[in-house]
């Protein structure tokens, strides 16, 4: 589904990713772990097309297409979506207005009323206070509410590849479990692929990865099955010296 080849990325003249190779299959949950500053978020940002992250070498291929020249919105239309670590507030714009524009931008015919009902339904499942749906997106929301709204957007936009960037920061266990359940459902229902970025193990108890990749100083230093998570739990990242 997603294939990354020899990816080198710099930000403000500092090389962060130094040649990453990575592949995610359809319907696969891949955990990307590593200490702070290892390049996990940089990888995610390079995939969604954040212009601050300059790709100096390599390829990012989605379903056979090299997407490096594409704008972020074009990549989104191909089915990439990131749940942001720090979702931005958009004053004066409700989640409904935003999603309606996003859906219509995909060339879909959506009635505002149908979308409204659909959002209300999904919001309920995520235990989102209905009043928040009428408010400006993410403005004054708690950390947990913001993350739930990211998942709400996923529910509506139904991406083919979801990137969860540190979704567990600032979440209590209940919210974390709820989010993990929603994501797992989407994997089952539509075969969504998931790239889970985290440096804690606890999220992975709820959202079981098929594979785990460890990043350190901009390079893949290990990969394998769930057993890597257990190894990390015991030894930390030191073993990757």
């Amino acid at each position: 589904m997603l294939k990354i080849k020899n990816l080198k990325v710099k930000i403000e003249d500092k090389e962060i990713l130094k040649g990453i190779d990575l592949e995610i299959m359809q319907g696969e949950v891949l955990a990307l772990m590593g200490p702070n500053g290892s390049g996990k978020s940089s990888l995610a940002n390079a995939v969604i097309g954040n212009p601050k992250y300059e790709v100096i070498e390599g390829e990012i291929i989605i379903e056979g297409k090299n997407i490096l020249e594409m704008k972020p919105e074009e990549r989104a239309k191909l089915g990439i979506m990131m749940s942001f670590q720090y979702p931005l507030a958009i004053p004066g714009v409700t989640v409904r207005e935003m999603l309606l524009t996003a859906m219509r931008g995909r060339g879909l015919t959506v009635s505002a009323l149908d979308l409204k009902n659909q959002i209300a339904l999904e919001g309920e499942k995520l235990h989102i206070d209905a009043m928040l749906l009428n408010r400006s997106l993410n403005e004054g929301f708690s950390g947990g509410e913001k993350k739930k709204f990211e998942i709400l957007q996923m529910r509506i936009l139904k991406p083919k590849l979801l990137i969860l960037d540190e979704v567990d920061s600032g979440l209590d266990i209940d919210a974390l479990a709820l989010i993990a359940t929603n994501v797992s459902e989407m994997v089952r229902e539509i075969g969504m692929s998931v790239l889970v970025i985290t440096h804690y193990q606890r999220l992975l108890k709820y959202l079981e990865p098929d594979r785990v990749v460890i990043l350190k100083e901009g390079l893949v230093v290990d990969s394998g099955g769930k057993e890597i998570v257990d190894k990390l739990e015991k030894e930390g990242y030191k073993s990757y010296g």
Binding site: I48, G49, N50, P51, K52, K71, P72, E73, R75, A76, K77, I80, M81, M82, F84, P87, L88, I90, P91, G92, V93, E97, M98, L99, T101, A102, G105, R106, S136, Q153, L157
Partner: protein, 459 residues
Amino acid sequence: MDKAYPLGHTDVVEYSFTSDKGLNEDLVRKISSMKDEPEWMLDIRLKALKKYREMTMPTWGGDLSPIDFEDIHYYVRPKTQDAKTWEDVPEAIKNTFEKIGVPEAEREMLAGVKGQYDSEVVYGSLKKALSEKGVIFLSMDEGLKLYPEIVKEHFGKVIPMGDNKLAALNTAVWSGGSFVYVPNNVDVGLPLQAYFRINTENAGQFERTLIIAEEGSKMHYIEGCSAPSFSSASLHAAVVEIYVKKKAKVQYSTVQNWYKNVYNLVTKRARVEEDAEMRWVDGNLGSKLTMKYPSCILVGRRAHGEVLSIAWAGGGQHQDTGAKMIHLAPETTSQIISKSISKNGGRATYRGMIHMVPGAWGSRSKVVCDALILDEKSRSDTYPVNKIQENDVVLEHEATVSRVSEEQLLYLQSRGITAEEASAMIVNGFMEPVVKEIPMEYAIEMNRLVELEMEGSVG
């Protein structure tokens, strides 16, 4: 690129009478006699002319030096039947109307094809309903003819001729504008719209509007329109005076989108009595320079004043706008929400004043000024003045300056929204608290205009 004005100047309109350029006593006499005015109005005009000559131009605001006051026709009476037809209107203008969704019935008037559209047919029933309630809604010229006592009692009392040089000029040469009278306890219901007015002249350079809302009455007046307005005149100096009597409620909404050669220098003020409410909603999109600070004089206990304004300053534009709240009585309250957007080298200035006199105890005022600056070339300034002469009052002031952040854009783009749509969405979201206070059709047009302005603006 300023795409809301891809249109160039409109064609020359034929006029039935055009004064010589420049201003003198003979001209003022001529205006008054052509309108067949009572002697007292001529006196007021002549006194105002004298005031105008004595006073100096304000220098604290925008740059007025390019205006050549000798190069202006102070009185122009357009022909009632214009020679132009819809076919003569340039395609570009028609397209703009199409894009922002101006109703068919209004397009011809906006394009200058007609000074007014067939209001008798469209609004005849509205007119009848109004007159049954005793509501008077006329042009100021007609109002003066038919109700001279009411005009005499109220004209120039809220805004005296010597208030400022441009108010003096307006008082000397005024023409057109609206006269509205709402009797006790009448709720007008539907908003009164300036261009529904019957037998009006074209929106004049020196419009004069007088609104009297008697005790317990309620009305909403709307002027202007969000579609681009074309004017051959480069100076517009209007005066609007409003009386909001006990327990009355008045909203006055303006959407101004003059062509970008226009100096729009307007004095607007309301006198608000006990338990009455006045609300100005003011959207300034067009003009080269606008100087406008709608004011409320809160004279009665518990009177309430509000100004909600949006200013859009694009390339070559200076929007120097704001509000004044004068608290003269106890427990009076006021609120000012001012939002400005500057883009492509435009300049937005907020200038406001809160004055609370001794004895205005228990009064409260809240001022919120938010500026959105869309690029490095553009500018925003805030000049608040607070004159508080009473201890037992509350005054809150919040001011923010923000930019559309790249992070916000990326966030929306990452959902599949183009950078242009995302910018327009952020700008519309910024304006939303004010736009939601104007009628839906204006709000939709304003949002569409923002989208047009943002097209091609994001690299």
